[in-house]
């Protein structure tokens, strides 16, 4: 059974040359930003496909977004229960297969990806112990992934940061490896808002098809409904994956 999208808003997809692309958005109990992620997918010109955590059918999607929220309330450890969802097993298999399904984990989605071992490291409580919501400046460190190819390397972008458990941690060996393999996808610029190791905001897997980050690109896709300055920097995440899919499909 797919999660019905809610009562509010127009969920039709505008027709574009990229309309063939289908991007899944997973909903867990406690997921909050699934409607925003679906809106971002549509704004980029693709079709948003709602995926329910308890289902096992990936519905032939070309890519998957695991959106933010507090799945299962984060009562145990963020993402620790969601990783066992039947849908996550399917996503992990597809991401690791030869097809290399592009997967983007945002905030709680990033936490689920680290709990699933699709990405290294882990997130603990912010060093200042408070929830934080702010417009966040990031630097794109690696523009070679499925979700960042639309950026310039080193480009600075502003998207929304909002989390309670956003402090990225990993042991020194892993951090060195990430740096050496150019797998740090995004860094915080200026003040480190949660105490993350080496100011890491997002990382990718080796193949570059799986990317996770704490800040929220889906909240910065429409002028007037996102950050005060440069409100649409998040859109390129979603157009990047379309470019990647077109290139990949040939």
């Amino acid at each position: 059974m797919s999660a019905e999208l809610p009562l509010i808003g127009d969920y039709s997809t505008p027709s574009t040359e990229l309309s063939g692309a289908r991007i899944g958005v997973v909903t867990f109990p406690g997921t909050l930003d699934d409607r925003d992620a679906a809106r971002a997918v549509r704004a980029a010109g693709a079709e948003a496909v709602s995926l329910w955590h308890a289902d096992t059918d990936l519905q032939d999607v070309d890519a998957v977004v695991i959106p933010g929220g507090f799945s299962y309330g984060d009562y145990l450890r963020a993402g620790a229960i969601s990783r066992f969802a039947p849908m996550m097993a399917k996503i992990a298999d597809a991401a690791n297969s030869d097809a290399k399904l592009p997967v983007l984990g945002i905030c709680n989605g990033f936490q689920i990806l680290t709990e699933s071992h699709l990405l290294p490291g882990s997130m603990i409580k912010n060093d200042h112990l408070k929830f934080i919501c702010r417009d966040q400046l990031l630097r794109v460190e690696n523009n070679q992934t499925a979700w960042t190819n639309g950026f310039e390397a080193g480009q600075e972008i502003t998207i929304v940061l909002k989390n309670q458990d956003g402090q990225y941690v990993a042991d020194e060996k892993v951090l060195d490896e990430l740096e050496a393999e150019n797998r740090i996808a995004f860094s915080y610029v200026g003040w480190n808002p949660n105490g993350s190791r080496r100011s890491i905001a997002g990382v990718s897997n080796k193949a570059g098809n799986v990317v996770g980050l704490m800040p929220h690109p889906e909240h910065a896709i429409e002028a007037g409904f996102g950050p005060d300055h440069r409100g649409t920097d998040g859109l390129a995440f979603f157009t990047s994956v379309l470019t990647h899919l077109v290139g990949g499909k040939k």
Partner: protein
């Protein structure tokens, strides 16, 4: 202690009650007065059972019955014109009022208090305040779309404020953020008068299609009654523990937590689950469980529907199996809903519960017997006319009189007082006063609080704090949406309870209009002291009279709200604090007006709309000098209406790029906030308004005269703007221009203060006290 023994001991059946008329009941400990208990006996024709006593005591409490205010609150229903009712789909009395927005959309909103729980246990008190108001919104068939939280704390430097502020803010954040609802504003005031009685009010707004409207009634004889969501536990049972510990059962644990504990994850799941039920039309009536829990839900659903209901109480799923029937009836465990479902829909209903992993239990069914019958293992423990529980509670005409001290208070004006001597006059003094004001606890930047709330989730937030109003889009295809602002000024209302309540409405109305929306409906949370004190009762009566008069004059109906009484410690009541929320309509939120100018506005003209009088009594500046006396600023609702029309039209016709209302802190505060909004400076001169209004620089900057706003007008729009204001007979003054290069606010001939200095003053205060 065995479950069996407990249950057996507590079963006080109707038959038993009829046969044992002389059993002592702890009605006084449950808060009932002797006349009220006598009335219950009269209604029933016998003594109540323990379970019935529990129900009546909690439903006849001040909180649930409005017994002290009912006679006054009627004015909100009486002082309305047909024009005001035009867009009202559901008025007062339901879980929340519903207003038509057009295009088949409707909006429902309500503000409520959760004051005393938030003092006892700040985190859970504030968290469950959000939870409760959100369930009220769901009960109407709406998807909740945003929350707001007007807060009042004690002195910022009082040691207990650490506990309360940290707890309340993290509670609101912890619960609200987990629901996926943007927190779009509110206000924060610090005043020693709230030290032992902080005010934690919570507002929620929801959107629905007309056809999704649901009401709390149990219709259709034979339809099933179901309780779903969290299990029922011992939390939130205040007085009910008396039933257990006093005369009924000495072996039971007697102390139960009076404050409810929230589970935001359960609430989030409950929201989605309810919306799915609505979408598939699986419920006939629905009611959330808040104050008075199952007592309230069963008696209200039954009396608003076919009139009767049959419930087997042992079917209720429990967290604590030792709960007595009375405790189960009174429990205020959170995240629960009660619904009425037709037999044909049972299977589909259960499928939705299974999908969301929500627990449920079928309690009974709707009858037309006009009796609410509750059984315990088949034995009747409650047999009442539900109307007598839900609607026919006692009503009091409490004595009230203008306090003897009121005249002396009003005679003690700021400028005649010692505190009002030696006011700042030179540029240097004015600058120092400006920085002091901007850094003061009430005027300082509150992003320490708002940055702990998610304002972005949903992707529809068009404006949020610190803008004048929170603005959310409802329909993505058209941009249709709403603006909401909450306001109150306890000091004004203390000086003049009638005018103060009107000023609260005037400010929230003005804030909504400043954002560009058309004010359409009002919800109020009346926070007062003890109604048994004639002084306080007078403040309350005056406040309700003032607010209802002003609503009529401004043409905005009150659609619901809440009264919170007994906010006092000993004999010392809080300042009367009627918090007024105004909701405004937007045809397209894209035209909303932000509260500051951006760099692109460089060179735009800054206009002050409205005239300025010498009105410092009750002001933030007087507060800084420790003075409270005199009369609050004059209420001029005609001027508010005219100002509102200008701001709305200017937004619609694209004549202004920024607007901010003048309220606490006057012109100086408004200018500073507009500069700080995007960090862009301005140059202004006071000469014209000083000359025109016959005031000095200090008064021009710090007076709190109402019905004023600052706007930034692009050069190309100035002619149109001036034509419009003069055609409408509204006074404006061109004060200066936006200056994106200077990095400063310059008040010509007086002082210049850099944006950095302003920011440091504004942002330093909350960090200093709360880290």
């Amino acid at each position: 202690m065995s479950q069996e023994a407990t249950k057996e001991f507590n079963i006080d059946t109707v038959d038993n009650a009829a046969g044992t008329p002389d059993v002592e009941l702890p009605w006084a400990e449950l808060g009932l007065k002797d006349n009220e208990f006598a009335e219950i006996v009269k209604i029933l024709g016998r003594r109540p059972t323990a379970a019935e006593l529990a129900m009546y005591s909690v439903m006849w409490s001040e909180h649930c019955s409005y017994k002290s205010t009912k006679n006054h609150l009627r004015q909100f229903g009486q002082k309305v014109t047909p024009e005001m009712k035009k867009d009202l789909m559901v008025g007062m009395g339901e879980n929340a009022g519903v207003t038509d927005l057009g295009d088949g959309w409707a909006v429902t909103f309500k503000i409520e208090s959760h004051n005393s729980p938030s003092y006892v246990e700040p985190y859970q008190g504030a968290a469950t305040g959000i939870g409760g108001i959100v369930r009220d919104i769901i009960s109407m068939g709406a998807r909740p779309i945003a929350v707001m939280d007007p807060l009042r704390f004690g002195a910022i430097d009082h040691e207990d404020s650490q506990r309360v502020v940290h707890g309340v803010v993290s509670g609101i954040g912890g619960y609200g953020n987990s629901l996926g609802l943007p927190n779009i504003g509110g206000e924060t005031v610090f005043d020693p008068i709230y030290q032992g009685n902080p005010l934690v009010n919570a507002l929620a707004v929801g959107a629905l299609r007309h056809e999704d409207l649901r009401l709390a009634n149990a219709s259709g004889v034979g339809n099933k009654v179901v309780l779903f969501g969290a299990r029922t536990g011992g939390d939130g049972i205040g007085g009910a523990s008396v039933l257990a510990s006093e005369s009924f059962d000495d072996t039971k644990p007697s102390k139960r937590p009076a404050v409810q504990v929230g589970d935001p994850f359960a609430e989030k799941v409950l929201i989605e689950c309810c919306l799915e039920l609505f979408k598939a039309s699986l419920v006939e009536g629905i009611q959330d469980l808040g104050a008075a829990g199952i007592s309230c839900a069963t008696s209200e659903l039954a009396s608003n529907g076919e009139g009767g209901m049959q419930v087997e109480l042992t079917n209720v799923l429990l967290r604590d199996s030792t709960l007595t029937p009375g405790e189960i009836l009174m429990s205020e465990s959170q995240e629960r809903m009660m619904a009425v479902v037709t037999p044909q829909n049972i299977e589909a209903f259960e499928a939705v519960m299974a999908k969301w992993n929500v627990e449920y239990s079928w309690l009974g069914e709707v009858t037309d017997t006009d009796r609410l019958i509750i059984t315990w293992n088949g034995e009747v423990i409650v047999d009442v006319d539900p109307k007598t529980v839900a609607h026919d509670g006692p009503v009091y005409d409490r004595p009230y009189a203008r306090p003897q001290w009121q005249d002396a208070l009003q005679a003690d004006t700021f400028k005649s007082s010692e505190a009002g001597a030696n006011l700042p006059a030179t540029g240097e003094e004015l600058k120092a006063a400006a920085l002091e004001l901007i850094a003061s606890p009430n005027m300082c930047d509150k992003s320490w609080i708002t940055n702990q709330y998610d304002r972005y989730v949903g992707g529809n937030t068009a404006l949020a704090a610190p803008d004048d109003a929170g603005v959310v889009r409802i329909d993505e295809s058209t941009g249709l949406g709403v603006a909401i602002a909450t306001d109150a000024n306890g000091r004004y209302t203390y000086l003049d309870p009638y005018a103060g309540a009107q000023l609260a409405l005037a400010e929230s109305y003005r804030n909504v209009a400043t954002s560009g929306a058309i004010p359409a409906a009002v919800s109020d949370c009346l926070n007062y002291g003890s109604p048994e004190d004639p002084d306080v009762m007078w403040q309350l009566a005056e406040g309700i009279r003032g607010l209802s008069d002003a609503c009529m004059e401004l043409g905005v109906p009150v659609t619901g709200g809440n009264v919170s009484l007994y906010n006092q410690t000993g004999d010392k009541a809080i300042h009367p604090t009627p918090v007024v929320a105004t909701l405004g309509k937007f045809d397209d939120v894209a035209r909303r007006t932000p509260s500051g100018w951006r760099e692109e506005a460089d060179g735009q003209a800054i206009y002050l709309i409205g005239t300025t009088a010498d009105e410092l009594d009750g002001s933030e500046f007087a507060n800084l000098r420790g003075h409270l006396g005199g009369l609050p600023p004059k209420v001029d609702l005609a001027a508010e209406k005219a100002l509102g029309a200008i701001l709305i039209n200017a937004s619609r016709d694209g004549m202004i790029d920024a607007a901010h209302d003048l309220s606490e802190g006057g012109l100086l505060a408004a200018l500073s906030e507009m500069v700080l909004r995007y960090g862009v400076g301005a140059r202004v001169a006071l000469d014209e308004i000083k000359q025109r209004d016959g005031i000095d620089s200090f008064t021009a900057l710090f007076s709190e005269t109402q019905a004023r706003a600052l706007v930034a007008v692009p050069r190309s729009e100035e002619v149109r703007f001036n034509d419009m204001t003069s055609a409408r007979g509204v006074t404006v003054a061109r004060m200066g221009i936006v200056d994106a290069q200077s990095g400063a606010l310059e008040v010509q001939g007086e002082f210049t203060v850099s944006v950095d200095e302003l920011r440091e003053a504004s942002e330093g205060t909350m960090k200093k006290y709360f880290g």
